[in-house]
């Protein structure tokens, strides 16, 4: 039963919070990956977008771990803050993606639905991460990490090729960043909850 001794410290355990965060980050990345693949197959074939989509994510300025060693050496509070920073940085673009993607010619229902679902679930994961950080943080919460996004005009360009590349790049970055978040959360869960013995 939930809260056997009434409301005395009746709260979700850190393990429960991490379990839900990982399940949610896994789901968000699964959706982001599917959406990118669908868009790539339908709109990007033969346009050489991959070569152009280099180093152009709005979150590139956030120094995030790029291999296992870096992910294991970074302090968990710093990694949690980084995850929060990346999530916050996607709030704005996801709102616009969900609306702008409706204007793509013959955008299939599956892409439209995923854009809305990802926006909703990203907000939900942000809520959960703020709760986890609140639990784990020893000291004062540092200044909020966040990188602004100024990509809306490029999603509304008249030239179709440029506009499609802007979408491609945004979905490529979403796939990459959501995978980072999912991976870092799995590392943190194994470190903080299972003593690196997942």
């Amino acid at each position: 039963p939930i809260c056997p001794n009434g409301s005395v410290n009746c709260q979700l355990s850190l393990e429960e919070l991490f379990d839900r965060a990982v399940k949610l980050s896994h789901y968000i990345h699964y959706l982001s990956s599917e959406m990118f693949n669908e868009f790539d197959e339908r709109y990007a074939q033969g346009r050489g977008f991959i070569a152009k989509a280099v180093n152009s994510c709005h979150t590139a300025s956030l120094t995030t771990p790029e291999d296992k060693e870096q992910a294991q050496q970074i302090h968990h509070e710093d990694l949690l803050n980084l995850i929060l920073g990346v999530l916050r940085s996607w709030n704005d673009p996801l709102i616009h993606l969900a609306s702008e993607v409706q204007r793509i010619k013959e955008a299939p229902e599956t892409i439209l639905w995923k854009a809305v679902e990802i926006e909703e679930q990203n907000k939900r994961l942000l809520e959960g991460m703020e709760k986890i950080v609140g639990r784990v943080h020893s000291g004062e919460v540092e200044n909020e990490i966040y990188t602004p996004w100024d990509g809306l005009p490029s999603l509304q360009l008249a030239d179709e090729d440029s506009r499609l590349f802007a979408f491609y790049n945004l979905l490529h970055c979403l796939r990459r960043d959501s995978h980072k978040i999912d991976n870092y959360l799995k590392v943190l869960k194994c470190r903080l909850i299972h003593d690196n013995n997942c």
Binding site: I2, S7, C10, L12, E16, L17, R20, L31, K131
Partner: protein
């Protein structure tokens, strides 16, 4: 005239979520000695002092409170009470603690089909297939379901239950030719949550040459 009393203590019956996105609570109204009694559902979230009132008393019918997506968080434990009030006074239910993840009860599986498979080398066998409930299927990956089926001879008493994990099909070898069976399937979220209702009874007849 009948003695007029404050209402008795209302009882919260249960809370359920069909797809881990929204949830509903139902209560048994307090008997109120004939006086007009008003019920109010109040809730607070773990670690917060603030008390909120039910956002929607209508959607899920009488004596219920519906929490839509905006009001449903699965990062917290809800402390829910119902207050019954009439002109003689009021009474509050015991607190009911809710963690949305634990109250997920999906709808039953759908599209149950049966196929007799004959193969040269092997004995013929039956393959039962089904689909997840529509609401859950849309969220594949977010809501992972497990299935269990039960069958019994039409005139039999005892069900035989078979747990099939996350598969949406099951092969059945040892059935008696010429016999009629009843089959039902239900499902549950993989970790926490509750079994759905059983699907409607499905009748299958095993061919005599099976």
């Amino acid at each position: 005239p009948k003695e007029q009393l404050p209402p008795e203590k209302p009882i919260i019956i249960k809370c359920r979520s069909p797809e881990k996105e929204t949830f509903t609570c139902w209560w048994k109204p307090a008997s109120a000695g004939g006086l007009l009694t008003k019920h109010t559902l109040l809730y607070s979230k773990e670690g917060e002092e603030k008390v909120y009132e039910c956002p929607d008393y209508k959607t899920a019918g009488p004596n219920s409170c519906y929490f839509d997506k905006k009001h449903t968080s699965f990062w917290t434990i809800y402390n829910i009470t119902v207050r019954a009030t009439n002109e003689m006074g009021s009474n509050v239910s015991d607190p009911h603690y809710v963690d949305v993840t634990y109250i997920v009860q999906p709808d039953p599986p759908v599209n149950i089909t049966l196929e007799l498979k004959k193969s040269i080398k092997r004995k013929p066998y039956l393959v039962l297939t089904w689909s997840p409930p529509p609401q859950a299927d849309v969220r594949s990956g977010w809501l992972t379901l497990e299935y269990e089926l039960r069958l019994k001879p039409e005139e039999g008493e005892e069900w035989e239950t078979i747990f099939v994990g996350q598969q949406t099909q099951c092969k059945m070898f040892s059935l008696n030719p010429g016999k009629k069976y009843i089959v039902q399937i239900h499902c549950k979220p993989d970790h926490h949550g509750l079994w759905s209702e059983w699907s409607p009874e499905m009748y299958i007849e095993i061919p005599t040459d099976f």
